[in-house]
Amino acid sequence: MAVANDDLILDVRNLYKYFPITKGFIFQKQVGAVKAVDGISFNIRRGETLGLVGESGCGKTTTGRVILRLMEPTSGEASFEGRDIFKLKKEELRLLRRNMQIIFQDPYSSLNPRMTVGDIIGEPLEIHNLARGKEKMRRVQELLEIVGLSPYHANRYPHEFSGGQRQRIGIARALAVNPKLIICDEPVSALDVSIQAQVLNLLEELQKEFGLTYLFIAHDLSVVKHISDRIAVMYLGRLVEVADADQLFDNPQHPYTEALLSAVPIPDPAVRRERIILPGDVPSPVNPPAGCRFHTRCLYAQESCRVDDPELVDYWGNGHFVACPILPFRHQRSRAAVLKPAAR
């Protein structure tokens, strides 16, 4: 890609993650694999937000976890500021995790109910030898204020908080070690609509204040569009399109992206759109279709799509990558006319 290497904070190449399916109890033998992540490459620039969207089971969460090495990859490379994450030893990995943190989807299960909020946020400080005792408490209180809670909340337990407040605690915990990259795994999906906006605004403020880089994993396209600079669309373990957020929404080139965008219900009754209804369900990742993974549901599929496995290509040299050899020839068509709200 046309970016100087030191601008990249994360560079992922040919990442694979298969989960074995075994048969038998004592003599287990592998009979197949769930191909959760099946060869993806992407990068994240310093200070940007890369949105990773896709439907359930497409492998987006697995991607986030493998990058953090919460799971070991099957193969592939991922370099964080030039160092290959997958080759690090235990101690080096601990140091790396100071730079890379995660915010989880479910604020109910990701906080230990037996620990006080102060202990939860303070734990990473101790693990990374950043602060202890009084200094730790001072830092915890500071973090609570940064995320919009009060210092006295440190002595309370997670069950005393609402979903939105718990998510703020999760954010404070991630911020505790001054990370450079935060992987946000569906951080607002479990929250009520009126609370989502509060947390999204907080994430944006923190990004500006601390110069954070986000990998923002979500299935809600409106949310991803709002927060991301660039967006990667995932389908069945593969990336099908990567582009600037505006570019992707105004001029989607992959048939899956196009269908996905058209399927989002717009909260405005005056907007009547041509909706593309995809036939059928997402195939099983155990036995993904040969050729292009999307061809079984694609409205434009041709004979060659059943055979040729398309790669992400930057057809126009502007950082708009598409894994579809058919559509680039329809480059100039304007989806905007169909997708944008009609004049009232």
Partner: protein, 347 residues
């Protein structure tokens, strides 16, 4: 206008718990007409699901109790029906589908058995005819190879297909009302689009009224004709979708619409609704939204606002539309795009 099919009058459903009285639904009123699609919108805990269970008389008692109000279905007060008579309505004349289809299907019975059971019970068909009806319904909801799949178990279907099965089951007795409680929330967006399209088609085909309960404003704008917005057990605004979305009169509705990111609008910052939804136990006096409302006045924390008529078939529970509103508040609300209506009396 013609006699409404379903008429809910000042419905109040409370739960008596150890911590106190939870006023889950607190004074809900609306009419549903033949063929209409009514959206009930609100966030978790606003009472939208409890209201549906109240209509169906499925509230667990105790701890729950319908403490006041009436529900009339085709002119009959449902509360006065015997259990036997209610069973003839539930699942037959008024059917319901739920958010998570897997928990509403019996995992050890084939879907054919489950659909046929309802048909045999309500339509008095024999077994063979009932199975035929089951297969026919699966075809109507566009399940591929329906005649063979009748003999499959729920786990052999994907999430979207299971929701289709639920819809087939609900429609198998030709109900006049379908209550759909978050029918697409558990589904992916491309599958959601399939189900919405299907429900639209079937609604026309069966000429039934639909009550769509959801938190997703996009789905409401897509499917409904009229909307009731609920907050903390109370219906705060009631209008057709155009008025609700383009000219909201209640600060909560207005706040919700501003806090969601829009797909085709570039916005630097979202305008969130500050604070948290209140606990439904021992709600303070006054408007439940007052603590979060940017336009709250003195009266708002003292007394619960009544419904104010703010347009034709448009009501809002908000003092901004009453004689209590002063110039300053009206100006601020208008500046924010929340136009106060021409003042009119309480309904």
């Amino acid at each position: 206008m013609a006699e409404p099919l379903l008429s809910v009058r000042n419905l109040k459903t409370y739960f008596y718990t150890d911590e106190g009285v939870v006023k889950a639904v607190d004074g809900l009123t609306y009419d549903l007409h033949k063929g209409e699609t009514l959206g009930i919108v609100g966030e978790s805990g606003c009472g939208k699901s409890v209201h549906a269970l109240s209509i169906m008389r499925l509230i667990p008692q105790p701890p729950g109790k319908i403490v006041a109000g009436e529900v009339f279905f085709e002119g009959k007060n449902l509360a006065h029906l015997s259990d036997e008579a209610m069973r003839r309505i539930r699942g037959n004349r008024i059917a319901m589908i739920f958010q998570e289809p897997m928990t509403s299907l019996n995992p050890v019975l084939t879907i054919g058995e489950q659909i046929a059971e309802a048909v045999m019970l309500h339509q008095k068909l024999d077994k063979k005819a009932a199975w035929g009806r089951a297969a026919e319904m699966l075809e109507r909801v566009k399940i591929p190879l329906a005649r063979e799949r009748v003999r499959d178990y729920p786990h052999q279907f994907s999430g979207g297909m299971r929701q289709r099965v639920m819809i087939a089951m609900a429609l198998s007795c030709n109900p006049s009302i379908l209550i759909a409680d978050e029918p697409t929330t558990a589904l992916d967006v491309t599958i959601q689009a399939q189900i919405i399209e299907l429900m639209r088609e079937l609604q026309k085909e069966f000429n039934m009224a639909v009550i769509l309960i959801t938190h997703n404003l996009g789905v409401v704008a897509d499917m409904c004709e009229n909307v009731v917005v609920m907050y903390a057990g109370k219906p705060v605004e009631h209008a057709d979708i155009y008025r609700t979305f383009q000219d909201p009169k209640h600060p909560y509705t207005w706040g919700l619409l501003h806090s969601i990111p829009k797909l085709y609008e570039r916005k630097e910052r979202l305008i969130p609704i500050e604070g948290q939804p209140p606990s439904l136990i021992d709600l303070p006096s006054g408007c439940p939204f007052a603590p979060r409302c940017p336009f709250a006045m003195e009266i708002c924390v003292q007394e619960d606002p009544p419904d104010y008529v703010v347009g034709s078939n448009h009501t809002a529970k908000c003092y901004l539309h009453s004689e209590y509103a002063d110039e300053d508040h009206l100006k601020r609300a208008a500046a924010a795009g929340l136009a106060a209506s021409t003042r009119s009396g309480s309904s």
